[in-house]
């Protein structure tokens, strides 16, 4: 009955971004800028991670005149999963060159 986490290249990208500074709380827009993912792609991934208890969320303490921002950080389980997925995705080539095996 359990729902599995989808292992997409975009998820690996987001997790790699979190791994670049494991202890830091991250903002959505910063992750989007660094990974090149649009908000419509990024947030479903973050929501899925949070749903699987791999991501914790928090609201920034408000500074005067600025709205508090939503922040994200990987949990211990999230970090373990991220390391596993990122090492897998770096070990496997994304795709073979189109001309491979073709006698040129």
């Amino acid at each position: 009955m359990s729902m599995k986490m989808r292992r997409s290249p975009q998820t690996a990208q987001v997790l790699a971004e979190f791994l670049s500074d494991e202890q830091q709380w991250r903002y959505g827009y910063d992750i989007s800028r660094n990974t090149g993912l649009k908000s419509g792609t990024l947030y479903p991934i973050l929501m899925r991670l949070a749903e699987h208890r791999m991501l914790k969320t928090s609201w920034e303490t408000a500074e005067t005149g600025r709205p508090p921002r939503h922040m994200y950080k990987l949990t211990k389980d999230g970090l373990r999963y991220a390391r596993e997925l990122v090492s897998e995705s770096t070990a496997q080539p994304v795709g073979d060159p189109a001309y491979e095996g073709v006698g040129l």
Binding site: Y29, S39, M47, H70
Partner: protein
Amino acid sequence: MTLVRGLAVRISCRVVRWASPGCKEWAEGLEREVAFIESDWAALGWAIGSTRVLLDRRAAPLRSLDEVPAATYKLLDGALVRSGFFLLMPIMDGPLFLHWFFVTRSTLGRAGSAIGVLGSVIAVTYMLLERHRLLLIERRRLKETWQDYIYNDVVACAHFYKEQLKRCDKLWIYFSSYLCWMLGKSLYYTSHDDKDMFTLVLFSLFILFILLVMSLVKQQKLRRIEEIDALLAERE
């Protein structure tokens, strides 16, 4: 504020307003980011992308096991109302199919009507049994001992809630009868000389809609079961 940024802000606010309870916090998170995006066009792109959250319809997450009794009550109440509503269509259409079965002369029309009758019988039987089960629970609910059990032993209540959620797997019986109903109607209409293609297309779309709803409901229930499992694991 420029026109483009104003539009971005308005879109984000609408997304927050229309987001489902389970996605509200995420929608707010997306909305807050708009103020920190330097470029107006990038802010607009961000806001447009945030509308994706609207497609995700989920109930507010369970924060603790103490919220489980209320959720259980809500689930049971909803199921009881739905069971009555879902009985209406097969009860109305069963006799109609039976009438068509005796009136129509073509074999295809008869086959369609027979399938329709079968679908209606399955649906009525299943929904009556389901309603009976829910009414028994309802009767137990009125007793004080059950209320004590539900509110004092939240772990037991969580297991009961999970059991009820898992029953959604059995809804395929009811939905397969819906498919019989659709197939029956389609065959019946096809058997006529003046084939009504519009009705057939409409029926096919309805089948797709039912399947989509089924998968969404199942997904939501699985999500809820996972939440309960996580809360139970935390408690242990």
